[in-house]
């Protein structure tokens, strides 16, 4: 029966695994990190490590402030002043806070100057802007995506398009949202976000950092050349991702008979490491900072170390309208879009990208 068949199906999800080397010319690692714009949580795990090196610790502590503005009207983001001060000089990121992508209107600003609005049917019809229906609509189209290029608006400030957008945001349907903002400036910056938005309630926030050490941890054995694993010799990439999730959720890895919560077992073959260092940074984190962290973790193996590999995982905001570049992101039962690097001591790496149901395949 169709119902029984549907009940047995697992929700659609995609996991793309690839391997390469950091020294390789065509390595895409930088591009993929930089185009995953809205990052909520960054975590790394270093086996056989008791304390963090000074450089890593400094990098972790300086994952930069981000800003929270309450009730910011949307027309503030399309003013010439804002575009010239923040969008053109560096990379400016913005995302609405406390809005669910599958229920409400969501707005995101990408560093290439595109303002993406994901609007529900009523709001879309009231703003009067041109957009396209969402790819993930059901029977009736209830979600529309409007994309406004701010760079284009600033080059032609008197064009009809610019006037229509201003009219829509100021008079036709003034929308206000709580925004999370972050800005990576290139060169000497004079103004800051705090002073620019001083008319609104703006707060500067620091990401939350959680550091811990785990003792006697079972780690899977990996071989950098074998992405699919080798029977009896190395574990596969999907097994590693499952194990990493279990470690960060503090689940038991031994499948003890009295454990009610988890029956997960560490994939075999595995070794036991004496200590492992876990670090989690939560906030609105810039891709530029993640690039620096990735480079520093590569340099971890400049001196000989006991650890065979280290991992760096990045999770995106479940309510962001885009995942990588401008690929549309939706939320069906879960809105995950995340990637994970496994960095080996010979500068090889594995990259795993995972998305949920209402998402395009990662690039």
């Amino acid at each position: 029966m169709a119902t029984l068949r549907r009940l047995r199906e697992v929700p659609r999800h995609l996991l793309v695994c690839e391997k390469s080397n950091f020294g390789h010319d065509k390595s895409r690692h930088r591009h993929l990190v930089e185009t995953h714009y809205h990052n909520y949580r960054v975590s790394f795990l270093i086996p056989e490590c008791g304390i963090l090196s000074k450089e890593l610790k400094n990098l972790v502590m300086e994952t930069g402030p981000y800003y929270f503005v309450k009730n910011l009207p949307l027309h503030e983001l399309i003013t010439q002043e804002f575009i010239n001060t923040f969008v053109k000089k560096g990379s400016c990121y913005a995302l609405t806070h406390n809005t669910n992508i599958d229920e409400d209107n969501t707005v995101a600003l990408l560093p290439n100057g595109k303002l993406i609005l994901s609007l529900d049917k009523d709001t879309y019809e009231e703003t009067g802007l041109q957009g396209r229906p969402s790819q993930y609509s059901g029977r009736k189209v209830m979600k529309f995506i409007v994309s406004i290029d701010l760079m284009d608006l600033s080059f032609n400030p008197n064009s009809k398009k610019c006037e229509r957008v201003s009219w829509s945001f100021k008079e036709k349907k003034p929308l206000k949202f709580d925004f999370l903002l972050a800005w990576h400036h290139t060169g000497a910056e004079e103004s800051t976000m705090m002073s620019y938005f001083s008319n609104y309630r703006i707060q500067e926030l620091q990401p939350k950092i959680a550091l811990s050490t785990v003792t006697e941890l079972q780690c899977p054995v990996l071989r950098s050349g074998a992405l699919r694993g080798e029977p009896e010799a190395a574990c596969s990439a999907p097994e590693l991702l499952d194990w990493l999730g279990a470690v960060f959720s503090r689940a038991d890895l031994t499948n003890e008979p009295h454990s009610f919560v988890s029956t997960y077992c560490c994939p075999q073959p595995s070794t036991v490491v004496a200590r492992a260092y876990l670090c989690t940074i939560t906030g609105f984190i810039l891709p530029e900072k993640i690039c620096l962290l990735l480079e520093q973790l590569c340099h971890y193996f400049d001196e000989p170390k006991l650890a065979p590999w280290v991992t760096l995982s990045v999770q995106g905001f479940a309510d962001s309208p885009v995942s990588w570049r401008e690929n549309e992101h939706g939320f069906r039962k879960g809105g995950e879009h995340l990637y994970n690097f496994v960095i080996f001591n010979n500068q090889d790496y594995w990259l795993q990208m995972a998305v949920g149901a209402n998402d395009d395949c990662p690039p």
Partner: protein
Amino acid sequence: MAVFADLDLRAGSDLKALRGLVENAAHLGYSVVAINHVVEFKEKKQEIEKPVAVSELFTTLPMVQGKSRPIKVLTRLTIIVSDPSHCNVLVACTHLDVDLVCITVTEKLPFYFKRPPINVAVDRGVCFELVYSPAIKDSTMRRYTISNALNLMQVCKGKNVIISSAAERPLEIRGPYDVANLGLLFGLSESDAKAAVSTNCRAALLHGETRKTAFGIISTVKKPRPSEADEDSLPACKKAKCEG
């Protein structure tokens, strides 16, 4: 997608329980709830009790979890007609001016759904409602709920179906994603099940609003009374017209 809505919270006599119910719904993530008053249809003229005023219930409405907006509380009236000679499902679907037709779950349906009246109802915008809190309380009801729901799905193919709780106590209400999963058990597809808690509820509410309008396009709003100063200016205008 539309916001999540639960269109059936049973109004008991206890205001405090109702308040707890609405707060629990806001905490679970519902942005719109409707308090349901149920009356039996009687032959003679009957007094329908006044609905609970929302301002009586809450001075400030509770915030929906994860959003910056308060929950929206509406009221709704349900009429139970037990005499089949008065009206049966066929008539309700095709002629009566209603927004929702509730499918009973307390017993096995004595009749089968026929495709023509269901299609007429779908075209008119009438939605079919399934409730799930009896299924939480009792296992026999669970069987009836699922079998009645599957019967309905075979005919209507998942269109215009909404799922609501009929909860009387805070513990009987479930979160919107859980209810969407429950919809899978009732025979809906994944996207239809999520629509049953969001999009179709919005459609039913809009259908109710359009009953006061002409074809859903024109509506009348009561104009505020003009003040004394304005009345003086009117004769002046009239004068101007005559002279011109």
